[in-house]
Symmetry: C2
């Protein structure tokens, strides 16, 4: 985190924090599958992330300000939350998914979310972001409870 950026280009700046094989996958699962605990992220992962890799990514994401981590002490359930910065990745992920859908091999079941996000367009992205702000940034206290 103290290493110099390779350049001051915005695309490079984004790639430096998002550009690896797992970061966007983890964020996708937190955003769209509401997996906010370590074990949920690890065991329910479609792609099968290893626990040490996941631990490293979560640490890096917290350090970069894309996640926050409430740690209630050893043995207890800890929760990862998105920040405003990561919530604003929703349009990027929507576009990326739509591109992947058109240009890479995918399976019908897993295509559904990307299709809906594309059809919904920017207005739906804003609605998704508003919902995430409520649930992750605690806009209104105890709004737990969907599923």
């Amino acid at each position: 985190m103290i290493d110099e950026p390779r350049s001051g280009c915005p695309v490079n700046a984004a790639v430096e924090v998002l550009g690896d094989r797992w970061t966007l996958i983890v964020l996708r699962d937190i955003m769209f599958a509401d997996r906010r605990h370590f074990r949920a992220l690890q065991r329910e992962s479609e792609e099968g992330i290893a626990s040490n890799i996941l631990a490293g990514r979560l640490r890096d994401l917290v350090a970069a300000g894309l996640l926050t981590h409430d740690d209630p002490g050893a043995g207890k359930r800890a929760t990862y939350s998105l920040t405003e910065a990561s919530i604003e990745l929703v349009p990027v992920l929507a576009h990326l998914g739509w591109w992947g859908l058109r240009h890479r091999p995918t399976t019908p079941e897993l295509r559904v979310r990307a299709e809906r996000l594309h059809e919904g367009g920017p207005e739906m992205w804003q609605a998704v972001m508003a919902d995430l702000r409520e649930r992750h940034l605690g806009v209104s206290a105890g709004t737990a409870g969907e599923s």
Copy 2:
């Protein structure tokens, strides 16, 4: 290229081909800085990519169908061209740059392109894509070109 995808999710499919520290940087330079030759991509690189890494990325991108490569034989100038698939990454890169601009450290000079792409919006992206199709896909006349 023969290894199985980790999942059939569109976001994962995109990450599998774009998710590393250099792929999007190379595509950015070809798209927006019009660097279409090996040495231009390597020596004029803002971020300083090593020649072996660049060679590997170019090979992978051609294999994935995101670039084409006209090879006129040893010692001569070879040209890399975008494909329809990579041209359609323009909106993704525009969004990614706009996100990086807002949420990561950048420098004023290098911010300009991302700012303009954001201000121009989807209409400008379409214009950029049309221009790229002309120059890289040879929409008019033969595959000859610029330079």
